[in-house]
């Protein structure tokens, strides 16, 4: 236990347990399967928000095209499931049985070559992570080696999202077009649409999210995490301390892409389809607000932020659909202007000191460990304080 705590940081550890209790115990017990499935869907967005914490919050790289990676992961999974749903028996009425229905409508008479490997589940699992990661790698190498950053990078990723959407919609014979890949039913014969399956998928999803949270926490806690923070403030200094800044940016961007892609794959499994509407600009920017609301420097905040915004969206749009965009807009502006550190910032500023005071009464102070450095700031709050100070 202590090893885990040391691995990701002590404070983070207790907070993670709270989140685990919430996601793995409280919500499944208190929600019916319909609502729980919704939560599961939202949690898939949390993967993207988590990726954004890494690359935007820590790396300072704002990508407005994270939906592309979410979508790529989702499409990889959807291709596998669609192939399974398109067995020759199921598609006997088609002019070419055994290929997905939309291909048949588009006069394809054979499965395109890049669909072939998706018959294999093992390949699919690798593809879910590697395809988006490699795509991210190509973008990142081209951009970061040339030191494109900030607003330029944001705009270019936005253009990439636009290109991707047009391509997917335009190549409907290969991608299912604007409708996406729909009507996915089974995974190795296991019906993913039943309530039981939804429970299982929810847990798989939640556990994968925790796995990603651990990876993220490990990265942040490592020297690489501190380098990212350092880079955001003083890129030149890092460079002249002998680090290849672009390599670090490429790494964190690819990691963020891979994490987003896992979310996309889980989305496909839980919702049962994938469509280009998740690849575009609008969903990509919406996911940025999940992250911003939770706190761009807090990996757990990303999860809470995602859940909160989506909960608000669902309940708001049920009662006052017209007001939803006003609320969403106000949220964007409010968070950015008043709480640049989001919920996590508020929590750390107001709640945590109070909680600490409470807990100090029954906790003996722990002895300082290695040298002077144990006071190293909890990496999730410290970097921002100077930022705050600057703008106060």
């Amino acid at each position: 236990m202590n090893k885990v705590a040391a691995f990701i940081g002590k404070n983070q550890y207790s907070h993670m347990i709270i989140l685990a209790l919430l996601l793995l115990v409280v919500l499944p017990l208190s929600l019916d399967i319909f609502r729980l499935n919704l939560v599961g869907k939202y949690l898939t967005y949390a993967f993207v928000a988590l990726g954004l914490v890494l690359c935007w919050g820590y790396g300072g790289i704002l990508s407005l095209g994270q939906g592309v990676f979410f979508g790529l992961g989702g499409y990889c999974m959807a291709m596998f499931l669609k192939l399974e749903a398109s067995s020759p028996e199921n598609t006997a009425i088609q002019s070419t049985p055994g290929i997905p229905d939309f291909m048949d409508w588009n006069q394809l008479t054979a499965l395109p070559w890049f669909w072939e490997p998706f018959h294999s589940f093992t390949f699919t699992v690798f593809a879910v992570i590697l395809v988006p990661a490699i795509f991210a790698f190509i973008i990142a190498v081209a951009m970061f080696k040339r030191r494109v950053g900030g607003v330029y990078f944001a705009i270019i990723t936005q253009a990439v999202a636009a290109i991707m959407t047009i391509l997917i919609i335009g190549q409907q014979g290969y991608t299912g077009g604007v409708n996406g890949i729909t009507d996915l039913r089974t995974l190795h014969g296991w019906d993913i649409r039943t309530d039981d399956a939804k429970y299982i998928l929810y847990y798989v999803n939640a556990l994968l999210l925790f796995l990603c949270l651990f990876v993220a926490a490990f990265v942040i806690k490592s020297k690489l995490g501190r380098l990212l923070v350092a880079m955001r403030e003083r890129e030149d200094r890092v460079r002249f301390s002998g680090y290849d800044v672009s390599a670090f940016k490429i790494f964190i961007f690819c990691l963020a892409a891979a994490i987003s892609a896992i979310g996309g794959a889980m989305f496909t499994l839980q919702v049962g389809f994938m469509s280009p509407s998740f690849v575009g600009i609008v969903p990509s920017i919406e996911m940025v607000i999940f992250c911003a609301l939770g706190g761009r420097l807090s990996i757990l905040g990303a999860v809470y932020g995602t859940l909160l915004v989506n909960y608000a969206k669902t309940s708001f749009s049920e009662t006052f659909p017209e007001l939803w965009l006003f609320a969403m807009g106000a949220l964007f502006i409010g968070v950015v202007m008043a709480f640049p550190n989001g919920l996590a910032g508020i929590y750390q500023r107001y709640m945590e000191p109070w909680l600490l005071k409470l807990s100090k009464k029954d906790e003996s102070p722990s002895a300082p460990a290695v040298g002077a450095s144990e006071k190293a700031p909890e990496s999730s709050d410290e970097p921002m304080t100077s930022e705050e100070r600057k703008h106060a």
Partner: protein, 254 residues
Amino acid sequence: MLESTKSIPAKDFVLSVEGLTVSFDGFKAVNDLSLYVEEQEIRVIIGPNGAGKTTVLDLICGRTKATEGSIKFKGKELTKLNEHQIVHAGVGRKFQNPSIYEDLTVFENLELSYPRGRNVWGALFFRRDAEVVAKVEEIADMIFLGDKLDMSADLLSHGQKQWLEIGMLLIQDPELLMLDEPVAGMSVSERKQTAELLQRITKDRSVLVIEHDMQFVADIADRVTVLHQGKVLSEGSMDRVQSDPKVIEVYLGH
């Protein structure tokens, strides 16, 4: 490249800059400049504003790419390398304004500069062991910050920040140290300490310094190079340079 024919073979010098030129939209900030630095030498570059002093350092450390000319460091051509590769080759650079990580503590500032785990995977699995701690503490003592390791770097005084940045370079043990106005904004006592510091750390390396403070220059310099409009105006010992009529004209002309 007339210069190179009469120049001495590069390997005798730690740093030999030859025929260096850079132009920004036609304006030649550095124009056909040649410069040689010996081992364990403290070389100070002076010159009026806009003479191209900082640009020369930028060129050497790879921050700006040269239009023409060569920069050889221990026989290795630097103009083709990236910044971090130049650092790995053994060149350290301090900026004009203290450039430290203000969000981190003094300890972490030094630790991040410790030359281990410099690639992605190395950084990911870097562990803070006794060796690192010992080295950090040693350097911290050297730069007069031994008792401030826990302090957040933005709470340091301006002079202390300058020292910290020098310390961040020292921990990498570079063979050539380049300092851009290291005593700017320092109090008199801090200046003195800095001069001592420089004397001490040059035992094992060469140092290239840009400085305006003539007293300080006189204190530390082995040799002085005067730049004017991107060219070397005069070079030699402090006394010689100070009595050079060309230098006097440029300085008084201002």
